[in-house]
């Protein structure tokens, strides 16, 4: 498949590579040594264990959106520093550093494009930018994307990859959970479908708001999905977590997601779902 090659050409020179440099790398799940080029050809999936390596928002656009049809919007929104936040560094310095190393202005891409010829609003989070954390910019961009969905009556597809809310913006960040949810409440009233795709990892307030509010929720195999992070839970209960805990398969088993879909089947699956959720038709005519 050529989708990744295509997307690679479009990468900004400074955009951080998802897969570490070097000809070979080790699968973090099964330990298999994989030829880098081979991995790229296979949608960044380990052919031995089907582990899905993380890919970025641009890669999801290439994977799911018809070539050349994506129009990104609100790319010029950047974080302010409402709290004058400083830990060992100033927050604005950290933001500038993240912009430099990722080539994007915050942790999400929003835009419209065609999926198998059907116009959708497509939102993809970028884990490499501040761990995909949600602050004012991410919340506003998602909210604007939802509004675009409602105005154009385009289905919404959102890819989550996030460690939760961004603490450097304090309560402004926490309230992005409320903000995005209120926008999604309007979307629901307009009866426009929302498909949520959870990728590795999706945790914290992100999971506990818009990610879990899809009409249909899909996860990639093996993704870590939860509210509390594994480290926090381990600390709380004082024992090791069972194998597979908070992974996609665990969530499916417990009834919190609709399905697990291999990356190679994603576009087809979402396309079929959108067909079911949007098409208004009368039964086929038997007499013909």
């Amino acid at each position: 498949m050529a989708w990744f090659e295509k997307s690679k050409k479009g990468l900004a020179p400074k955009e951080k590579a998802q897969i570490p440099d070097g000809l070979w790398l080790k699968c973090e799940n099964c330990g298999e040594i994989i030829f880098r080029k081979e991995l790229q050809k296979n949608l960044s999936i380990c052919q031995k264990c089907r582990f899905h390596f993380r890919i970025n928002g641009r890669d999801y656009i290439a994977l799911l959106i018809d070539e050349g049809t994506y129009r990104e919007f609100n790319t010029d929104l950047v974080s302010a520093d409402p709290l004058k936040f400083k830990d060992t560094k100033r927050y604005p310095d950290r933001v500038q550093q993240a912009i430099k190393s990722t080539g994007i202005n915050d942790a999400v891409r929003t835009g419209v494009g065609l999926l198998d010829g059907r116009k959708i609003v497509f939102v993809a989070m970028e884990f490499t930018f501040f761990g995909g954390s949600v602050g004012s910019v991410v919340g506003e961009k998602i909210t604007q994307a939802v509004i675009r969905s409602i105005e154009g009556r385009y289905p919404l597809v959102l890819v989550s990859a996030s460690g939760g809310m961004r603490m450097q913006e304090g309560m402004y960040s926490l309230l992005q959970m409320a903000k995005t949810t209120c926008a999604l409440a309007q979307l629901a009233e307009a009866k426009i479908p929302y498909i949520s795709l959870l990728t590795h990892p999706t945790t914290g307030g992100t999971t506990a708001s818009f990610s879990m509010l899809g009409n249909v929720i899909i996860a990639e195999p093996g993704a870590l999905i939860g509210f509390a992070g594994p480290r926090v839970i381990k600390q709380t209960i004082g024992q090791d977590l069972p194998p597979g805990f908070q992974r996609s398969e665990f969530l499916l088993q417990h009834g919190f997601i609709d399905m697990i879909v291999d990356r190679s089947q994603l576009k087809k699956t979402i396309s079929t779902l959108l067909m079911h959720l949007t098409t208004e038709a009368t039964p086929d005519d038997d007499s013909k």
């Binding site: 302010a80 309560m171 209120c182 509010l213 009834g255």
Partner: protein, 320 residues
């Protein structure tokens, strides 16, 4: 008498008060002429109190918000509501004592009340899970706020939790879905809804009952995206740096009022709510009544529209 738990910065005041109480006891039984001395010490205590409590650091406010003697949801229920009837269970898994739900009468109005409930003492705290709800607690709240909506009853929520419980079972039973579902339920309510942060507003676990038309905070309560300890352990790799994290995240009621993220700060008596729960409850009653009266003038559809609009505006960003 109940032995007060003293925070470090409260100690000088409590010591002085103890001394005054002892002298008073003595002067009552003897003719030592201690009255002048008592008056002098009482003056001194008053000065000390206003000095200490008018300049609390953010971390000291965090400690006040977590004070083991601080009044909790039930303490307010007992003081400002009548005919309270507690309702239980999420109808699918269980009941959660970390969240209390029920109907009560407030100023002549039948309202639905929900609130986090911390325990008093070890045994009670284990029962209440230190006010940290499991998914069934949030789902109970969701079920009953929808019931309130169904019968057009105003909703009052009391927020006081370190956070949603981060346990194995909580994740198994979908803590994230439980919270997300509550956020959506609150975005859809067509009744007046007021939230009051009583003590700790711990992250998503607090917001899960907090998307209200009016968000009020007691003077010494806090509301934050992550606990100061959690923030410190990530940013400074040391949870004992929590005081620094509390400063950086600006977690106090007056901070959030300044950012226009909450509507009103409810004053506490000098020394904090735990020094005088009756006066505190009276302050809460007055402010609740004012806001409820205002909200009741607005039709439900309009309330819902305004609530969504309010939260959809939150955020600060720049255009490059």
């Amino acid at each position: 008498m109940h032995e007060r738990v003293a925070l470090d910065f409260e100690k000088p005041i409590l010591d002085l008060e103890k001394k005054i109480a002892e002298m008073k006891a003595l002067s009552g039984t003897s003719q030592l002429g201690l009255d002048d001395e008592i008056t002098r010490l009482e003056k001194k205590a008053g000065k000390l109190r206003s000095e200490i409590y008018s300049s609390l650091t953010r971390w000291q406010r965090v400690q006040m918000a977590r004070h083991p003697d601080r009044p909790y949801t039930l303490d307010y229920l007992n003081r400002i509501f009548t005919d309270f009837i507690e309702l239980h269970g999420d109808r699918s898994y269980g009941d959660d004592p970390a969240i209390i739900c029920g109907f009560g009468t407030f100023e002549g109005v039948s309202v639905f009340v929900m609130g986090h409930q911390k325990g008093r003492g070890t045994k009670d705290n284990l029962y209440r899970n230190f006010g940290m709800p499991n998914p069934e607690g949030y789902r109970k709240a969701r079920r009953l706020m929808q019931l309130a909506d169904h019968f057009s009853k105003p909703i009052i929520s009391f927020i006081d939790t370190p956070g949603a419980y981060p346990g194995l079972g909580a994740e198994e039973r979908g803590q994230a879905e439980a919270i997300a579902g509550n956020l959506m339920a609150m975005a859809n309510l067509r009744v007046p809804f007021i939230a009051v942060v009583l003590g700790e507003g711990g992250s998503g676990g607090a917001l899960a009952i907090g998307i209200a038309d009016r968000v009020l905070m007691l003077e010494n309560s806090i509301y934050s995206v992550i606990s100061p300890e959690g923030c410190a352990s990530i940013l400074y790799r040391d949870s004992s740096e929590a005081p620094r994290a509390a400063e950086a995240m600006k977690v106090t009621a007056s901070d959030l009022k300044g950012m226009k993220l909450i509507d009103e700060v409810i004053p506490e008596p000098l020394g904090g709510a735990h020094r005088d729960p009756d006066t505190t409850a009276e302050n809460v009653r007055k402010v609740l009544k004012k806001h409820l009266t205002e909200l009741q003038k607005t039709p439900g559809e309009e309330l819902c529209r305004l609530r969504r609009e309010r939260f959809m505006k939150v955020g600060v960003w720049e255009k490059k």
